[in-house]
């Protein structure tokens, strides 16, 4: 017996112990002998005895109560199954005996699994493993299996005994657990991923909020601030407040565009945003932190949850103070430009008009005297020539020739007038100095006459002294000329304010003229008096008109026949308060004289 037990245990016993299954040292020969017998299982009835067989039977009985037991021959044909085997496989004993174990193969294990098992047991080794089998009804079950080869005298396996325990529940639990664990770790990984994504996004949003130049303030439905970025603090000078929205205008110093009316709380873009409205507006901000005030442009829009319901509002705003200033500057410049264009256009139109009248008049008025000279010379030489000395006739020829040459000169002067332009050189000018110079120039004409000059102290004007001197020369010369019939001539010079401009007035007590013809007064070559009565070219007042218009001023006259005339023209008052009396103006005017 010991010969049999030897090969089984020496090496294998240690392995079995290691696996935690204690096998008592049995007599294998006896075990093999009784394994096939019905009696072995039915040995319950037998009372325990002292002899080894009795003890073996009892142990077998105990084994059958606990384990699923089967034996096969070396070909694998089932030679014995116990009741538990039948119960779990759902096959009857008759159906199993003589069958190969393959009848239970579930296909779960690879071929190699069974090859390895066979290899082990065929080599006389005990094999242990977990196997999934298929029952008769197709259901599967797991068994913890130990296959023990029983050896013959030559050490070859003679039969195999398989002892199995049902571990299906554990296996199912394991599988469930494995599934749950996998699901759990999948969820955990996902959670981690989304958490990281959220963190990244939050960080990104934070840095966007921190770095943007626009102020951004967001509040929830209750008006509690949830975002207040650094730009918002910089622009408004203050941080987020816990005050209710009705106090925001007062707290931050928000005003309407008039810069004094507090911005109505219910109209604030953020408040309207919380109400679900999208708006853009400009407002003025002034608070202790922003003493000079800031103009901001604010856009408000509602914040919505994923269902689209309003859950707060966000206001984005930026400092538009400089932009507004620039816009205002542009507007002002545009207005100035428009005004200047209009002024220039008017000046240009006047100039064109005068040039046209001038051209027209030159062809008429200057040619006439030439015709007279030529005509009378002709008559003279025809009617009286024969009685004249040769020298006189020669003189007449020269007169005719002179008239012809003058005709050419007139044409050339006409061309010159079209080209010649005087650029305005505006400077603060003391008008009284200019007038004094003109009056002294006119003294020769006034010689032998009684002339009262009543000259008021005029404010300094912003004008071209050379041109203004021409104006006074013409107007004062006219005053002298048309007062010639008076025993005592009175010429008054004064000024008055006329729509923010200074209107210079020159009044005389001369013969005057009918206002019926006043529209002709300033036309080139227009005359209201016959040449015999008062000499003149008809250019003087046209020149005055042109000069004043060039200054952007206005000229007009009031008169009545025989009751004197008053001429007015406007000039820009000089803003310079300190004109030194060393008088560039006087010198310039003198140079222009």
């Amino acid at each position: 017996m010991s010969g049999v037990i030897g090969p089984v245990k020496r090496a294998t016993a240690a392995r079995l112990v290691k696996a935690g299954i204690a096998i008592p040292p049995l007599a294998p020969a006896s075990l093999g002998g009784s394994a096939r017998t019905e009696a072995a299982e039915g040995a319950l009835a037998n009372p325990p005895g002292r002899d080894a067989e009795q003890e073996l039977r009892e142990q077998k009985y105990a084994l059958d109560q606990h384990a699923i037991v089967a034996t096969t021959d070396v070909q694998g044909t089932i030679t014995y199954v116990n009741a538990k085997f039948c119960a779990i496989s759902k096959y009857s004993r008759d159906e199993l005996l003589g069958q190969n174990h393959r009848i239970l193969n579930s296909g779960h294990h690879p071929k190699e699994f069974f090859q390895q098992m066979y290899h082990t047991i065929a080599g006389g080794q005990v094999w242990r493993g977990e196997i999934r089998n298929t029952a008769k009804d197709g259901s599967t079950y797991w068994v913890d299996t130990t296959v023990v080869p029983f050896l013959d005298a030559n050490g070859k396996p003679r039969q195999y005994m398989a002892i199995r325990a049902d571990i299906s529940e554990r296996k199912q639990a394991e599988e469930r657990l494995a599934g749950q664990t996998e699901e759990l770790s999948r969820q955990a990984a996902e959670l981690l991923r989304s958490q990281m994504a959220l963190e990244t996004q939050t960080l990104m949003l934070r840095s966007v909020l921190d770095s943007m130049e626009e102020g951004l303030a967001a509040a929830d439905e209750q008006g509690k601030f949830i975002i207040w970025n650094p730009a918002a603090l910089k622009i408004l000078g203050l941080g987020a407040t816990n005050l209710p929205s009705r106090d925001w205008s007062a707290h931050y110093g928000l005003y309407l565009q008039d810069m004094v009316t507090p911005f109505p709380a219910d109209q604030l873009p953020l408040v309207r945003a919380i109400r679900g409205e999208t708006t853009t507006t400009q407002m003025f901000v002034r608070n202790p932190e922003l003493e000079h005030g800031t103009w901001i442009e604010v856009s408000g829009s509602p914040l919505k949850d994923k269902n689209g319901a309003v859950c707060g509002g966000v206001a984005a705003f930026r400092d538009v103070t400089q932009r507004r200033a620039a816009e205002q500057e542009i507007r002002k410049l545009n207005e100035e430009l428009e005004g200047r264009v209009a002024q220039r256009t008017a000046q240009l139109e006047t100039a064109n008009h005068e040039l046209e009248a001038f051209t027209y008049s030159v062809s008429h008025d200057l040619r006439a005297p030439l015709r007279h000279i030529g005509g009378f010379s002709k008559i003279l030489s025809e009617d009286f020539g024969p009685g004249m000395p040769a020298e006189a006739q020669s003189h007449l020829k020269r007169i005719e020739e002179g008239a012809r040459r003058m005709g050419l000169l007139v044409d050339e002067l006409l061309n010159l007038a079209r080209v010649g332009r005087h650029d305005l050189e505006l400077r603060p000018t003391r008008l009284n100095l200019v007038i004094d110079e003109v009056v002294s120039l006119l003294q020769r004409e006034a010689e032998g006459r009684a002339v009262d000059w009543k000259i008021a102290e005029l404010p300094p004007a912003q004008c071209d002294p050379i041109l203004i001197k021409q104006v006074f020369q013409n107007v004062l010369a006219n005053a002298l000329k048309f007062t010639r019939p008076r025993e005592r001539a009175v010429v008054e010079i004064g000024f008055r304010q006329e729509n923010g401009q200074m209107a210079i007035m020159v009044r005389d007590n001369g013969v005057g003229f009918s206002m019926k013809y006043s529209d002709k007064l300033f036309g080139v070559f227009q005359r209201l008096h016959r040449a015999e009565d008062f000499e003149g070219t008809g250019i003087g007042l046209a020149t005055v008109h042109r000069i004043i218009h060039k200054h952007g001023g206005r000229v007009w006259a009031e008169a009545e026949v025989d009751k004197g005339a008053t001429f007015y023209f406007t000039l820009e008052a000089s803003k310079a308060t300190d004109i030194k009396a060393n008088e560039m103006t006087g010198q310039s005017a003198a140079a222009g004289a």
Binding site: Y360, S361, S363, H364, D365, R367, A368, P369, L370, R371, H372, G374, G375, F376, K378, I379, G407, Y517, F525, R527, L528, H529, R530, A531, E532
Partner: protein, 158 residues
């Protein structure tokens, strides 16, 4: 001088032009009866028998008006317009005489009913020739309507 028997009304503010014109007319014996008006106002007073000429009659209009364009107070174009727009004076031949070379004067002159438009030449010989032709044509060759040709219409108008 009986202003009711005037052949030529000469309207010119230039005494020189007046003298030169008359000199030329006299040479052709065409200046037997003339009246000189020195501005537009006086010309209108003569033609419409008002002011100093209130005694004149519309029955004896001048046979020719030589009208300068550039005149004091009321210019020649205005005078022409008044004359040609009034039934009583419309038939009077009006010749515009001017130094102007402006095309627009020529056009507006004819538009207003001028009978001729003459540019006074600077050269006296040409001027003389022109005045002679004008005088001969309007005073000798041309046949004016009956002196009272306008009268029935004027009376009807009254």
């Amino acid at each position: 001088m009986n202003t009711n028997e005037v052949d030529i009304l000469l309207v010119d503010d230039s005494q020189e032009d007046v003298d030169l014109t008359l000199h030329a007319l006299r040479a052709e014996n065409l200046a037997n009866s003339f009246f000189v008006a020195r501005d537009g106002e006086e010309a209108l007073e003569f033609l419409f028998c008002t002011g100093p000429h209130a005694g004149r009659s519309f029955d004896h209009p001048p046979k020719l008006v030589l009208l300068d364009l550039k005149l004091p107070k009321i210019d020649g174009m205005q005078v022409l317009k008044r004359v040609k727009s009034d039934e009583r004076t419309r038939i009077i031949p009006v010749v515009l005489m001017t130094s102007s070379k402006e095309e627009r004067d020529l056009v507006s002159g004819y538009n207003l009913g001028a009978n001729s438009y003459i540019q006074k030449p600077v050269d006296f010989d040409e001027f003389r020739k022109m005045v002679k032709l004008l005088g001969m044509y309007w005073l000798v060759i041309n046949r004016p309507p009956l002196t009272n040709g306008w009268a029935p219409a004027a009376k009807q108008a009254q």
